[in-house]
C-alpha cells in the first residue's frame, strides 16, 4: 500500500484535488442541484465510457485507432430505433440478411470443394473474379426486388420522424403492407442463398489450399443455423411482426438494445476481417480507412434514415406522468413508472440520470469480469502487451482480433441504442461523443480499461458542473465577483483538464509507463 502510494504520488494528488473540488462544489450549491449535476455528469460519463472502452480495447490489442467509432455509436442508435419503432422492417430484413450471410460462414466447406477441382481450374485466375461478379450481379438483381416494408424519407407521412412522433403520442401509424410482386418468393430465396454461396466460393478459389481438409460438423453449424433462421423468419414473417409490434414497449426496447449491440458486434467483426486485416502493416492507411468509413457511415445513415433529427420514445417504464408522479420513492416509481423521480427534492429524469449510469456501471463490471476471469480476457490482456509472444504460444490471435473489434464496436452500438431515447437521433450524435471519448482516454490512459472508466467519469462530471456553474456562477473567494462560465467553456474545460493532466502524467492517470 505504501509502495503503491510512493509510486503514484501524482495520481493520488490529482485524485484528491478532484475529490476536493467535488466537495467544494457540494458546499457551494444546493444539495439537490449538486446531486442532479453529479448524476448528469455520470450519465454523460457512462455514454462516453461505452465509446471509450471499446476504442481503447481495440487500440490496445490491435493498434488500430478506429476513428469510425463515433459513427458506429450513431449507427447503433439508428439500428436500435428501427427495431423499436419499426419492428416490421426489422423482421423483413432478417431473411435476406441471414440467407446472404449464410454462404460466407462456411469457408471450410468451400475450401474443401475448391481443393477438389482439377488443377487447370484451380489455376484459372478468372474463375474467382467471375464468381464474385456473378454474385454481385445477382445481388443487384434480387435485393432491390425483395419486398421490405420500410419508411419513406421522401414522403412526410411515412418519414421516420412521423413514425416516432405518432408512437410517442400513443397512436402508432399502421405499418405498410408489402408482398412479392416483382419477384417470386422462391426465386428470391434461392437468389439470396446463391449470392452468398457464389461469393464465398469465389473467395475460396483465390487461394485453394493444397491439402483439402474435410470439414467437420462444427464448421457447418453457422451456415445451417443461418439457413434455418432465414427460412424460419420467412415462413413466420407476419406472425413475428404481429408478436413484436404487440410487445410491451419495455421488452421491445430491451430487444432493440440487444439487437443493436449484436449488430454492432457483427459489423465490427466484418469490418476487421475484411477491411482492417489487410492493413495491419500500414498504420497510416488504416487511419485513412477508418476516417473514410466514418464519413461513409454518416452518408449511409442519411441515405437510409434521412437527414432530419427525430426522437425515440422512451419505453413505458420510464415515461409515466400520471397521478403519483414525480415519484418520491422506489415503490412509487415502480407502481407508476414515472419519468421523473424526486431525489432529495431534486427532479431527476429516471431514464437519463439513473438508468444510463446504472447500465454504464453494469457494462464496466461485465467487461471487467470478462477481462479478468475468462481465458479470452487473459489472452486480450497478454496481447495488449506482447502480441508476438501470444502468437508464439500457439494462440490464434487473428480470431481474438476479430472478436475484440466486434466487442468494441458492440459496446459503441450499445451506447448509441441506449443514448437514443435521451439524446434523440441525429447524424452528428457520434462525433461529439467520440471527441469526448478521446479526451477521456487521454486523461485516463490510452490502453487502460479502468483508465477509460475514470477518464469518462471525469469528462462527464466536468462538463455538467461547468454547465451548472454557467447558470448559478462561481463566487471567486475574497471578491464580489460571480464567475459564470459561458457555453464555449464547457467543451474547452475538458480539453483544459486533459492538458493539465498530460503535463503532470504524460501517460494519463492510469496509463502504463513503458
Amino acid at each position: 500500500m505504501a509502495l503503491f502510494f510512493r509510486k503514484n504520488v501524482l495520481l493520488v494528488i490529482t485524485l484528491s484535488v478532484f475529490a476536493g473540488l467535488l466537495l467544494a462544489a457540494a458546499q457551494g450549491m444546493e444539495r439537490k442541484d449538486f446531486l442532479i449535476t453529479l448524476l448528469r455528469g455520470l450519465s454523460v460519463g457512462s455514454l462516453t465510457f461505452l465509446v471509450a472502452s471499446g476504442f481503447s480495447l481495440i487500440f490496445g490489442l490491435l493498434d488500430v485507432l478506429n476513428l469510425a467509432h463515433g459513427t458506429l455509436f450513431m449507427i447503433g442508435a439508428y439500428l436500435g430505433w428501427t427495431v423499436y419503432v419499426r419492428p416490421d422492417t426489422f423482421v423483413d430484413l432478417l431473411t435476406p440478411l441471414a440467407l446472404t450471410a449464410a454462404g460466407f460462414t462456411a469457408p471450410a466447406l468451400w475450401n474443401f470443394i475448391a481443393a477438389q477441382l482439377p488443377p487447370a481450374a484451380r489455376e484459372n485466375r478468372l474463375l474467382p473474379w467471375g464468381l464474385l461478379l456473378l454474385a454481385a450481379l445477382l445481388a443487384f438483381w434480387v435485393l432491390p426486388r425483395y419486398p421490405i416494408a420500410a419508411w419513406d424519407t421522401e414522403n412526410f407521412s411515412q418519414a421516420p420522424g412521423s413514425y416516432a412522433l405518432m408512437l410517442d403520442q400513443g397512436a402508432p401509424l399502421p405499418f405498410p403492407q408489402v408482398a412479392f410482386e416483382k419477384i417470386s418468393s422462391f426465386l428470391a430465396l434461392s437468389g439470396l442463398l446463391s449470392i452468398g454461396v457464389l461469393g464465398a466460393l469465389g473467395l475460396a478459389f483465390f487461394q485453394p489450399p493444397a491439402q483439402p481438409v474435410r470439414p467437420g460438423w462444427k464448421d457447418l453449424v453457422p451456415i445451417v443455423f443461418l439457413l434455418m433462421l432465414g427460412l424460419g423468419v420467412f415462413a413466420a414473417n407476419d406472425w413475428l411482426t404481429a408478436v413484436l409490434s404487440g410487445l410491451n414497449s419495455n421488452w421491445l426496447f430491451l430487444l432493440s438494445v440487444l439487437i443493436a449491440t449484436l449488430s454492432g458486434f457483427g459489423l465490427g467483426a466484418l469490418m476487421e476481417s475484411t477491411l482492417i486485416r489487410p492493413l495491419y502493416s500500414r498504420p497510416i492507411y488504416q487511419l485513412m480507412l477508418t476516417l473514410g468509413m466514418s464519413a461513409i457511415g454518416i452518408e449511409l445513415v442519411r441515405a437510409v434514415w434521412g437527414r432530419p433529427e427525430f426522437t425515440m420514445p422512451k419505453p413505458a417504464l420510464f415515461s409515466g406522468s400520471g397521478a403519483g408522479c414525480p415519484a418520491a420513492s422506489f415503490d412509487a416509481w415502480w407502481q407508476n413508472n414515472c419519468s421523473i423521480a424526486l431525489v432529495f427534492e431534486g427532479r431527476v429524469r429516471v431514464y437519463n440520470e439513473i438508468l444510463i449510469p446504472l447500465v454504464g456501471v453494469f457494462v464496466l463490471l461485465a467487461v471487467w469480469l470478462l477481462l479478468q476471469r475468462t481465458r479470452l480476457g487473459m489472452v486480450i490482456r497478454a496481447g495488449v502487451q506482447d502480441r508476438e509472444m501470444v502468437e508464439a504460444l500457439g494462440i490464434n490471435v487473428r480470431r481474438v482480433f476479430t472478436l475484440v473489434f466486434g466487442l468494441g464496436v458492440g459496446l459503441a452500438a450499445l451506447g448509441g441504442a441506449l443514448a437514443a431515447p435521451s439524446m434523440g437521433l441525429s447524424n452528428a450524435m457520434g462525433e461529439s461523443l467520440l471527441l469526448n471519448a478521446l479526451i477521456a482516454l487521454a486523461i485516463g490512459g490510452l490502453t487502460s480499461y479502468p483508465g477509460a472508466a475514470l477518464g469518462s467519469a471525469l469528462v462527464g462530471l466536468i462538463q455538467q458542473f461547468m454547465i451548472k456553474y454557467g447558470q448559478i456562477g462561481i463566487p471567486i473567494p475574497f471578491t464580489d465577483i460571480l464567475f459564470k462560465p459561458s457555453a464555449p467553456i464547457v467543451p474547452a474545460s475538458t480539453v483544459l483538464l486533459m492538458v493539465i493532466i498530460l503535463l503532470l502524467l504524460p501517460n494519463g492517470l492510469l496509463g502504463k509507463k513503458d
Binding site: 481465458r375 502487451q385 506482447d386 509472444m389 502468437e391 508464439a392 494462440i395 487473428r398
Partner: protein, 234 residues
C-alpha cells in the same frame, strides 16, 4: 536417430536487411542442440524463422516431416513448439499463475504439469498470485521456461537462458533444463559457451547469417582453434 527438425538453407529478411543467408540446423530427436556464434550473427532470427515470426523467404523448415514454410506462427506453435524468447516476455498484466495458464493448449495442461514444474522451480509455487512483473530476473526466466513447458511441446526453442543471471541461478536453471530435455527436444541459443557446452550434445555455429560449422559438442570442446576462431572464447 532421426531429426525432429530440419532447417535447410533458409534466407530471412527483416525489412530490407538480408539477415539469414543460408542457415542449416538439424535437431536430433531427444537431444539439445546449441546455436553458437557472436552477437548479431543471426541466432535469434533463426529461432524466429523456425516459428514463422520472421518467415524465411527461401529454404525449408521441416518439423516432424511437415513443411512449415507458409504456415502462420500460431499454427506452427500449435504443432508442439514452445518458445522462450530472449527477454522472457512475461506478461505484465497477468499473474504468475495466469502466465502459466495462458500457455494451455488443452484444458487441464496446467494442472497436469503443475507438480513436475514446482519440483523443478519450487520458487514459483509461492509466487503464483503475484503479478508477472514483480519477479526477479531469474524467477522470470524460470517462469518463461515453465510456460513453454505447460503444453505438450515436442520442441523447445530457448533464447539466451543464462543472460543476466547470477552464477548460482544459472546452475539451478541448467539442472531444470536437463530434466526438461528428457521430455522434449531443445534448440538453445547461448552466448555463454561454458553453459552451452555443458548442456548441449550438438552444436551449430552461425556466422554472419550463415551456418558455418556443426557437429557433436564433444568434438567442438576439443577443437580449441575453432572455438577461438568462431566464438572468440578460450
Amino acid at each position: 536417430m532421426s531429426n525432429l527438425l530440419e532447417v535447410h538453407a533458409i534466407h530471412t529478411f527483416i525489412g530490407q536487411y538480408h539477415i539469414l543467408q543460408g542457415v542449416d540446423v538439424q535437431a536430433p530427436q531427444g537431444s539439445i542442440t546449441a546455436l553458437l556464434g557472436r552477437n548479431g550473427a543471426g541466432k535469434t532470427t533463426t529461432l524466429k524463422s523456425i516459428l514463422g515470426l520472421t518467415p524465411p523467404r527461401q529454404g525449408s523448415v521441416v518439423f516432424d516431416g511437415r513443411e512449415l514454410n507458409g504456415m502462420r506462427s500460431f499454427d506452427i506453435a500449435a504443432l508442439g513448439i514452445g518458445f522462450v524468447p530472449e527477454h522472457r516476455a512475461i506478461f505484465r498484466d497477468l499473474s504468475v499463475e495466469e502466465n502459466l495458464k495462458i500457455a494451455e493448449r488443452k484444458k487441464g495442461d496446467y494442472l497436469r504439469k503443475q507438480d513436475f514444474l514446482f519440483s523443478l522451480f519450487p520458487d514459483l509455487k509461492r509466487l503464483l498470485r503475484l503479478p508477472g512483473t514483480s519477479l526477479s530476473g531469474g524467477q522470470q526466466q524460470m517462469l518463461a521456461i515453465a510456460r513453454a513447458f505447460i503444453p505438450d511441446n515436442r520442441l523447445l526453442l530457448i533464447d539466451e537462458p543464462s543472460e543476466g543471471l547470477a552464477p548460482v541461478i544459472i546452475e539451478s536453471m541448467m539442472a531444470a533444463l536437463r530434466q526438461i530435455s528428457a521430455q522434449s527436444t531443445m534448440i538453445l541459443v547461448e552466448q555463454n559457451f561454458l553453459v552451452a557446452s555443458q548442456l548441449a550434445e550438438h552444436y551449430v555455429i552461425i556466422e554472419e547469417g550463415r551456418s558455418v560449422k556443426s557437429g557433436k559438442m564433444s568434438d567442438l570442446k576439443q577443437d580449441k582453434a575453432a572455438i577461438q576462431r568462431y566464438l572468440g572464447a578460450a
